[in-house]
Symmetry: C2
Subunit: 645 residues, 2 copies
């Protein structure tokens, strides 16, 4: 079997049994759906079940972070989300007790301008509507969620079947229908109560021993409380409440009903709808609140917890709430789930398509568990930040301003900034490993990590605006390559009269038979459509070229070597002024910290995180450096220079 | 019958015959559909027919101007348009003959930055997809296009039926089904060959006596011509061609096949698909072009023409191509049609809802015919601009820069700027009349048209970004009120500590019984939902208040008088920095030319054009001035001060 073919291409070749799947996914919440959507688009055969008869009807998670919205846009799903006219939270208001009920102590931007977000707000929409956006995309790729079905057992044995080592027993919830299927992978997106996790006897560690019982109410209210359309944290002498605006004039109220710090703590403590409404009335005094309609009401205990392992054998994986639970306060649940799924999706793809070594699957747990741990630590820090006295107005102003960063930053400002980065999703930083270059990476070329470079490996690419040369469209560079499972190679080409030779050398060295690029060409490369934009040569690489020139000065046929020119929709002019680097003549180069004359090369992972940054040099140096980087995790030996394409 | 009720409210009261309609609309192209969509939303009973069995399948118009995209967004239809991933034209490339085939002489922004457009590009999408967006909106309001039906006759006689004076005979195109209906209005959106126009014996005047035969081909090509994704005007020794990019990798080519200036001119001259393709091959040398697929090909003669009248009796109206035809070069057809329809829609609404005097219907022809005449004049000027030698690069640079405007502008730059304003749709300027204030308007208060004001009546409102107070969302102010048939009253409230009294006086005077505002309250005002955002008091007015303060400093309950505070979703902070007025502390005030301390009041017509601008003063002056303005065209006497609400 040709390992360089994607599964979609192999469909015709493989006589796989009808009960054999690439992956069985349990649970059609955010984590399962995003995983399923990616893998379905990339041609994998999926069995996806959920034990609910239909998608979430009401309630549950509803907050999409700025970074997650970028991701949904990159997947082409943002318009369908926005068509529901979600609420957008730009600021958080804080209310404290006063002599006469409550008073506002201040409001803070939830994603201040020092974070260079395209969408500096949280998008609030009922989880069921979000699920349906994924489900309808899945249906276009022939995947239907099998409902209401549940998992009854599973075992992995490579000796029984080395290609489909996982056996999974599935059952209709009424107990009548049963199926046993084989798969390459099993994924649990079951939520906090995970059968798979229990079977694997994977423990949950509780970072913060304090647990809480929360009451959550979604509905339409009539009130004179002025911040009802903002996210609010309200402390009063009668208790605390959190307000989250929703689509369709709805509002969500979170009320803490009990805490394990209470003297009479009982995790089964509950409260009726009426009790919660009366409590809200007392808390909101001197303002009035009346319910016109309650859409959903629920009481549930939540403890912070994190699974000890996300997988034992790199065949059976878990993600989302099955791995980490936390308070709803920071609105992180669905977002962390999305990014768990994205992280795993492309790694499974690269292994199964024969590109990457199976060992990259180990980075799923190491990268995502760290994020969950940070989230749990953050949760406590964030709570502490707000439980103290209200911050001084000047501190808030300093914290939300773009150009702070001097040594005098106090602890409050530092924590606040970290928390904004965290809640926006822009703060995720993966540690160094084979994918995220560092000084200890096997790639040791001295042109890696050039001086001035502002990108940090393991973090997402900095946003920038550029002009597409072929049609003069002003575009968001970081969005130009969709979530297609490919590494994104951004060739910042500086001044064409300076980099001409370096570009030609780059192209010639990419063409060499054992370059990272030429080692993984598409088997159907000779019959690829003239209109293919992103993957004309390889399923694993999409190439972009960005010149520090005006658009009208760039002539692709003259300035761009053939192999890069084939990506004619990915040639750009860095000629759009940017408020963040107002004096820069080439704003994108400046934001990345790359030289406007000499440029540089940025390799971004398929999930948008920076893998490595290198100089763009004459000779074979640039491709040599990238060969060293990819050699750390791909299946073939790279860099022996023999023949030309 | 209570004239202040909208038709929707009257439905229950009126025992209208099933064959009586508010309006009969002939033709479901852009002009008919936009008219129908507005009137259906505002509750009118519509009979809408089209003689085609289904919407446009291929070909026809496809260019949406920046201004039209603003309008579609304001109607909530932009997401559905953009979901089809249309091509976007940001620049136009010019190619001329050279010794070796053709060469590019330059490219120009199609909507340069001196035009402050939200979407500085033309959106290209097949007319049928655009029609379907309207049709599905119409269906939500219970209107189905009756197809394939045609009009066979009509007559207007107020003596026979003063309420439904128009009788219309309709027939299925197969001649078997027949219907006779009565209506208040008949509208012809039939296109260039209008039965209605012929019956009314309204002549067509040809501004430019030159007619052309055009060949138009839509398809997918494979070519090395570098500007195939740009709009191009190509002159070669083998003829001329125009290139327009389309959605789905398609391209449209316009080839001029014959001109009335040819010696052997024959308006019936044609060319086969193959002939046009060979011709394109010769013209594009030294570049290659091959067709992978032809979606549509048509040859049609076009002459510039304009109807002498748009209506004879203000009961039977025409719009779109029935009134004006022109070459496809400037891509104006559909856009002019949209704005014809919008102009007529709200005027019919205001007359039928009892708000405006019937005489405002006369402004439909005077306003829209002027635009068509300008368009035809422009067409000739534009053609001349490009038929001369290629302009010097410095002229193009000067023309496209934002801050030009000095006395040294040459004729080229002047014409170019005008043409950009024109093609973007931002150049439309209606002459003074009862709706568009001027010094000769009956409203003569000396606080009208305050010094410094940068708005021009009869032009659209200048774009600005502001922060909505209730939810801190950063919004586009000019889009905040949807196309709801209401006048938009923007109270720029400057510094609240300066304008406090003026605002309170404004509110008190609005409440006076015979103010323009209080004279047209909703009959159901006491039962309007708490959540109604735009029309809590009146169907004819939506009010906004904009302070020149930071959002956090504004407290609606303290700073905004009750009547304005009821529009709590329309209270804004003018606190967003704007690149166009970089030193302004209140950018929206600055862009409008209103004093940052004292503010001012802007009244915008329901179609987005500025009606009048006034100072905001203490006492009754502001409302007095607005009463004078509205008194010029509403049905009731205004301004006699008697009782309070």
């Amino acid at each position: 079997m040709d390992k360089s073919m994607t599964p979609r291409e192999r469909v015709g070749n493989t006589a796989s049994s009808s009960t054999n799947y690439d992956i069985v996914i349990i649970g059609a919440g955010p984590v399962g759906l995003l995983l399923s959507t990616c893998l379905a688009r990339w041609g994998y055969k999926i069995k996806h079940i959920d034990n609910r008869p239909e998608p979430t009807k009401t309630g549950r998670a509803d907050g999409i972070q700025p970074r997650s919205l970028d991701l949904l846009r990159n997947m082409g799903l943002k318009p369908a989300i926005m068509a529901h006219e979600p609420a957008k939270v730009y600021e958080v208001a804080f209310w404290d007790p006063s002599s006469n009920g409550i008073h506002r102590t201040g409001t803070w931007a939830s994603c201040p301008s020092f974070i260079d977000a395209r969408y500096p707000f949280t998008t609030l929409l009922h989880q069921g509507l979000i699920e349906r956006v994924f489900i309808s995309d899945l249906e276009k790729n022939g995947v239907t969620i099998q409902r209401p079905w549940t998992i009854k057992g599973f075992k992995t044995d490579e000796k029984v079947d080395s290609e489909y080592p996982v056996e999974v027993d599935l059952e209709h919830v009424d107990g009548k229908g049963k199926e046993t299927v084989r798969a390459k992978y099993l994924f649990s997106g079951e939520g906090a109560r995970s059968f798979v996790r229990d079977q694997l006897k994977i423990g949950i560690k509780h970072k913060d021993p304090i647990a809480h019982v929360w009451g959550v109410m979604d509905g339409v209210v009539k009130t004179d409380f002025p911040d009802i359309k903002m996210k609010c944290t309200i402390h009063s002498d009668h208790g605390s409440i959190m307000v989250i605006p929703r689509e369709n004039d709805m509002v969500r109220l979170y009320i803490q009903i009990a805490s394990s710090t209470d003297k009479d703590w009982n995790p089964r403590k509950s409260a009726t709808e009426e009790e919660v409404q009366s409590s809200a009335k007392r808390i909101l005094q001197p303002y009035n609140i009346e319910w016109e309609r309650v859409e959903w009401y629920s009481v549930y205990p939540i403890g912070q917890g994190i699974a000890d392992k996300y997988t034992l054998d790199h065949r059976v994986f878990m993600g989302g709430d099955a791995c980490h639970t936390h308070s709803p306060k920071a609105g992180q649940g669905m977002n962390t789930a999305f990014l768990d799924a994205l992280n795993l999706a492309w790694k499974i793809h690269h292994v199964e398509a024969g590109f990457a070594d199976r060992s990259i699957l180990e980075t799923y747990e190491s990268e995502r568990k760290l994020v969950a741990e940070n989230l749990l630590n953050f949760d406590a820090k964030y709570a502490a930040l707000f439980s103290q006295k209200a911050p001084a107005a000047k501190d808030v102003a300093a914290a939300t301003e773009q150009k702070s960063g001097d040594a005098e930053e106090n602890q409050f400002i530092k924590t606040f900034k970290e928390s904004c980065e965290f809640t926006s999703g822009y703060g995720v930083a993966y540690d160094p490993n084979a994918l995220n270059w560092s000084a200890s990476h096997p790639a040791s070329s001295n042109i890696i990590n050039p001086k001035g470079n502002k990108l940090r490996t393991g973090r997402i690419l900095i946003n920038s605006n550029v002009t597409r040369v072929v049609d003069a469209n002003v575009v968001h560079l970081e969005q130009e390559i969709p979530v297609n499972g490919s590494f994104r190679v951004y060739v910042f080409a500086g001044n064409p009269s300076t980099t001409g030779q370096a570009l030609r050398d780059l192209a010639e060295n990419l063409k060499k038979k054992n370059s990272f690029f030429s080692s993984y060409l598409r088997p159907d490369i000779d019959s690829v459509s003239h209109h293919e934009r992103h993957n004309p040569h390889s399923h694993f690489f999409s190439l972009c070229t960005i010149f520090a020139s005006k658009r009208a000065e760039i002539e692709i046929s003259r300035d761009v070597p053939d192999i890069l020119a084939r990506y004619r929709d990915h040639v750009y002019a860095d000629d759009i002024w940017d408020q963040r680097v107002p004096d820069a003549k080439a704003a994108a180069h400046a934001k990345m910290g790359l030289d406007r004359e000499k440029g540089g090369v940025i390799v971004v992972r398929p999930d948008g995180y920076v893998g490595i940054v290198s100089s763009l040099v004459e000779g074979s140096g640039t491709v040599d450096a990238l060969n060293e980087y990819f050699a750390a995790f791909v299946t073939k030996r790279l860099g022996e220079r023999r023949a030309q394409l």
